[in-house]
């Protein structure tokens, strides 16, 4: 039971973290499940899309020259010699004075160079009358006009949109190389804890950080691994720290007390680069490496756990998966309803509510009260160079709510 020798600043901790966060290696996944993943390689199209000339309107394929001079007063007759449907092209070749009925998307018959839309013809059994002119190429989709063979269609690092997945399918790919999702081992320690899904009983309480962290990891694109509560013993914790994974997130036992085993284990078997950060809550946070894995020591108090996850672990997990360091929270700017007192040299994370367009800091600030983060609409940061903020100061609120909007 002693204090931290020296607290790092948030900026120092982030600088160390960013230096030690490299993208995960690539893996190949079916195109159909690639949406929301990050491309690991540039994609070049092996084919032209479309691979053949096609009609862009329903109408008649013909030689444009055959419509010269056609108007509704000077109808020009053409012989209809067949039809072309998508996937079922007209087999023959079209000659002068001939037309082939054609549907949107169907291959243009050999010999034709334009499509006269159905709105500009009169149909009479085996003949059709052109009521207007079309120039060559009109209403014809060129080979490769969507995508040319050999073109780079999407670049490495791209977050794949739904339409990107459509595009990758259209060029005939079945698999695509994406950045692997980081596997994140969640290590919850505490002999007083019962696993989520239990009823609290006697002096035992239910683990809330485990399921919260699992949801946060999934939100940030990681694969959460949370096989259960880990006994509060050094051997058990060390074994968990050495799980098959890319990142270890430890909740509880992260401080400097005699029951706080994890910091000593990381220091002994790896590198404990940061321990103690000048922020409130979450000051007993640690960052390190063990056997090539990033290790985050998060406080057991649930608010501190959430805050420390969001500042450090979430950022690393998103970047390992090829994503952005930015928080997945919407932001709004609004004035403070009352003053906020902070301390120079320390970053403060304030849970707030939005009340009538103004920002109301929650009165209860205890890091142990998870309900303060469910009652809050979001949070505000008071930077370390300020002693606080006056009433009316415009602040940026990060909204906890639905990350899409």
């Amino acid at each position: 039971m002693r204090g931290f020798a020296r607290r790092s600043t948030v900026a120092e901790a982030l600088a160390w973290l960013d230096q030690h966060t490299a993208r995960c290696p690539e893996e190949w996944v079916p195109v159909a499940s690639a949406a929301g993943r990050v491309l690991a390689r540039d994609v070049t199209s092996p084919v032209d899309v479309p691979p053949f000339e096609r009609a862009m309107m329903d109408g008649f394929a013909l030689r444009a020259a055959d419509t010269l001079g056609a108007t509704s007063y000077n109808r020009l007759a053409l012989e209809v010699i067949g039809q072309s449907l998508p996937g079922r092209p007209f087999a023959g070749r079209l000659g002068p004075g001939q037309a082939v009925r054609i549907m949107t998307g169907a291959p243009l018959p050999a010999g034709a160079d334009a499509v006269l839309p159905v709105e500009r013809v009169e149909i009479a059994s085996d003949r059709v009358f052109a009521l207007g002119e079309v120039p060559p190429g009109k209403h014809v989709g060129r080979v490769g006009e969507d995508i040319a063979a050999g073109a780079r269609v999407l670049e490495a690092g791209r977050w794949l949109r739904p339409q990107d997945v459509g595009l990758l399918a259209s060029i005939g790919l079945s698999q695509v190389a994406v950045v692997r999702r980081p596997r994140v081992r969640i290590v919850v320690t505490g002999d007083e804890l019962l696993p989520a899904g239990s009823r609290p009983e006697g002096f035992r309480i239910v683990d809330s950080n485990g399921p919260m962290l699992a949801a946060l990891v999934a939100r940030d694109g990681g694969i959460p691994l949370h096989p259960g509560i880990v006994p509060d013993q050094p051997e058990a914790i060390l074994q968990a720290l050495r799980s098959e994974c890319d990142v270890v997130v430890v909740s509880g036992g992260s401080s400097v007390g005699q029951e706080d085993h994890a910091p000593a284990l990381v220091r002994r078997h790896g590198e404990l680069a940061v321990h103690g950060i000048a922020m409130r809550p979450s000051s007993p946070t640690g960052l390190g490496m063990l056997d090539g894995r990033l290790v985050f020591l998060l406080p057991g108090n649930p608010v501190s756990c959430l805050c420390a996850y969001d500042f450090f672990a979430g950022r690393a997990i998103r970047r390992l998966g090829g994503g952005s360091a930015d928080w997945p929270y919407r932001r709004v700017r609004a004035p403070l309803r009352r003053k906020v007192v902070s301390m120079v040299g320390r970053l403060d994370y304030l849970r707030v509510q939005l009340v009538e367009g103004q920002v109301e800091p929650l009165a209860v600030a205890g890091a142990s009260l998870l309900s303060s983060t469910t009652r809050a609409d979001g949070f505000v940061l008071v930077p370390p160079d300020l002693e606080g903020l006056p009433p009316g100061a415009e602040v940026e609120v990060f909204l906890y709510d639905h990350p899409v909007a």
Copy 2:
């Protein structure tokens, strides 16, 4: 091959749609997998959290009265009679002049009413010297101070945050009632189409709308069901329209041509409420109901398909799942780089790029070119009451990119 009798406005189509979109019924899911779902019922806590008085600091549990007058110059000795750890409370009762070593989160021993933090004591074998005073209740977490038994902790309709899942676990719930995710049958028709994962071959092209729609449905909280391409025959399409699901999304064959079977089937066997919408692209879109399911007839052209999905199907799928009608796109405002021509009475969906902080409409506007939606950064809407927009007009851009930000 005839035109639409009358096009509905986008507003009319949305009004019909919203009237016919009710939330899906509830289902019970494990708390650990409830993040991102929408609560179907209010949740009331069956327990107090914490269920016992607990220490909020590492230190010594004692009677506050025993510290009266203590300073570093007037150290007051207390007998240490044991310790209380989380989950392993001190079994006895503390009397006057006694102290119990205690860790953060551990139960306060009977007889104690305060915790003196470790920083304010001197420890000497079986005794401890108080170096300061504490009032009764100091550093003690009260029973139910996080959550009181009987309190409503979360309300029906709430989108569950990661910390909400933690909270639900902490009150001892194992399952929670959430709005069921809508099952969305994707019906892709077109005899020219090969399933995604194939190489395009001869006059056959690969289905891009199916995988794009599946990704969109998943993004919007639905469960996509896409067992494969449906033959372009009325019986096969009708069977697909009657799949076990909440929503049917048909891609292709939605217009008024003779090969467009779906509209006639919906009209005959259900209700085709809207067919033809005053918008570009996507004007050949249909909305209807069949045996209690919402049916969306989307054009086969991929850009039209994306646009019509986003305007109508996506909105309904999000609302069925308990979510918001709003698009999951970030928005930015920026000036147009050049003028845009539109038509009064029609809503236009323009794909645009952001270039040096300005909005550049893409020159290629063909609804058949999916690549225009992968090259675009997002889209701009030109409302139906405008003939266009002048250069420099500030417009709102909906960004296709990463929906979280």
